[in-house]
Amino acid sequence: MTRGSQHGLRPDVIAVDDSAVVRKVIEASLTQAGIHVLTFPDGPSLLRAAQSGQVVAPGLVVLDINMPRMSGYDVADSLRHQPGFADAQIIMLTGQNTIVDRVRSRILGASEFIAKPFSVPDFVATVCRHLDISPHGHTGGRWPTPGE
């Protein structure tokens, strides 16, 4: 499920949200669908991991807009300057579904905008659509080994 590279982990999806609930649900639901996901509680920890090469740009980044240390907008802006991340698709999440958020997300190049609370099956379907894959239920008979 996990694909390592010479430079670091390359998940299918990276999600950044300060809510432990959202992170846990995203991890569980995408993993169930056979999608490898890495989550971060805030933008700076993702940016550090990206700068140090611990993670390689995935196909899709999911960003919460309203986070205390660094907003999702600022994370998206910084990621664009990281090698490989410029091409990653971005989905913005927000608890405040305002027109301003929608427009600003679009300007920053986000391809989707999802308001919280969201339907988890719909969220998984959206992620699959962006990754151009169909979900599956198991990991092909093996568990990822520690550190993989």
Binding site: S19, A20, V21, A28, P117, S119, V120, G141, W143, P146
Partner: protein, 415 residues
């Protein structure tokens, strides 16, 4: 994933894993996964095995064991299942049969113990795939009703592996193997059957696994496997691919709450909680979440032609001693907490008085009400989750709601 003991079952067979967990007095869940996607879990509690499940419709159900041990008939089980269909969160099948005096407590214990032994021995002959031990992952304590020592399990596995060496070439998928009569028996075979073998033949058709035939015959599945293996050796039976067989509805699969999307509910509850500011708002919010959970469960059950007994929530609250907040009795009718009544009572206590003398009582009420209602929500989640078949989904659900309660605690501390 860090810290989990994991690897290939070809290198560390289940019999050795069971002994390792037993000697170490381990508590946790040993997950097994075959390369074809079949999976199972063995739960350990202080080194004893307390549960074992093969995930999927063809796993060994308690109903199979009860019939194979000739403790219960199919109509009796159907009757108990029918009761459970009308009260999905109520008592489980075994308890219902005991209540109806169709089964003794001792027989139920024997059946549960047998279910564990036979399930583990079956998984022990998996020759490919992987294992992963997750320390601390456990069943809800009140669902543990039987414990089997690791030595007994290991002995059963060793005994079964000996049998399996003889059977494997005839029944490659063990008790899950599907067999059918060959179109033409060997020309020169003189056919003479023991009556027991003839009875087994009468139950053979391409839709029946060895397990299902044994259950229908009220015979131990290993005995039936020996008879069927003999028939295969003589060229009278052939193995058929189960995927080609029409799936038949098993009673257990009718009572399945896996379709309930707890993740979406939990995210909705978190978002709602973050908007609630006053003490009484928090309490009404929690009661509303309990009600929403029950409502979603009712909708799911209705779609599957199942119902929830109208006193399910009241019973859950009573069972967990969550019906009272101080001297206030939660008003619960038809699986809903009366939030208007609770809200009015809470506002009267929490916001209606600013006298210093009332402060302590107010704080006490809020703290106790918060605890009771959080526990009620946890109990509702848990009552649903223990009906979820997939151990992975059960664990993920629980982790999600624990994160919700942690968030609630943090917002209360911050606020």
């Amino acid at each position: 994933m860090q810290g989990y003991l994991s690897g290939a079952v070809s290198e560390f067979p289940l019999v050795e894993l069971v002994q390792t967990m037993g000697v170490g007095g381990s508590t946790g869940a040993l997950h097994l996964m075959r390369s074809d996607g079949a999976s199972g879990v063995v739960y350990f509690e202080n080194g004893d095995v307390v549960s074992a499940v093969e995930v999927g419709a063809n796993g060994l159900a308690l109903g199979d064991v009860l019939q194979q041990l000739d403790y219960a008939s199919k109509p009796q089980l159907e009757h108990a299942f029918e009761q459970q269909r009308r009260d999905v969160l109520g008592k489980r099948i075994g308890e219902r049969l005991v209540d109806m005096a169709l089964l003794s407590e001792a027989q139920l214990q024997t059946a549960l113990r047998t279910q564990i032994m036979w399930t583990v021995r079956e998984m022990a002959v998996w020759r490919d795939g992987s294992y992963q031990f997750r320390p601390g992952e456990r069943l809800p304590m009140d669902t543990i009703t039987v414990r089997v020592g690791y030595e007994d399990i290991a002995l059963e596995i060793i005994r079964y592996e000996g049998e399996w060496e003889t059977l494997r070439s005839f029944l490659p998928d063990g008790m899950r193997t599907h067999v059918a009569m060959v179109y033409e028996p060997p020309f020169d075979l003189q056919l003479m059957f023991h009556p027991a073998v003839w009875r087994a033949i009468s139950k053979v058709n391409k839709h029946h696994s060895v397990r299902r035939i044994a259950t229908a015959l009220h015979q131990n599945e290993l005995d039936v496997a020996r008879q069927l293996a003999g028939l295969r050796r003589d060229g009278l039976l052939t193995v058929v691919t189960p995927g080609l067989a029409a799936p038949l509805s098993e009673p257990a699969s009718r009572i399945n709450v896996e379709g309930l999307d707890l993740f979406t509910l939990i995210i909705a509850f978190e978002q709602d909680w973050l908007k609630r500011r006053s003490f009484s708002d928090h309490l009404v919010g929690l009661a509303t979440y309990v009600n929403r959970t029950m409502e979603e469960l009712e909708k799911l059950l209705a779609r599957n032609d199942l119902t929830l007994a109208p006193d399910s929530l009241a019973n859950i609250l009573r069972e967990h001693r969550l019906s009272m907040i101080g001297d206030y009795h939660l008003k619960v009718e038809r699986n809903r907490i009366n939030t208007e009544h609770l809200g009015a009572h809470s506002r009267r206590l929490l916001e209606g008085s600013n006298r210093r003398t009332a402060l302590d009582a107010t704080t006490d009420y809020y703290g106790e009400a918060l605890f009771i209602l959080q526990q009620a929500l946890r109990a509702a989640f848990d009552a649903i989750n223990r009906r979820v078949g997939s151990p992975d989904l059960r664990r993920a659900n629980q982790e999600a709601w624990e994160a919700l309660f942690l968030t609630m605690e943090q917002t209360l501390n911050d606020g």
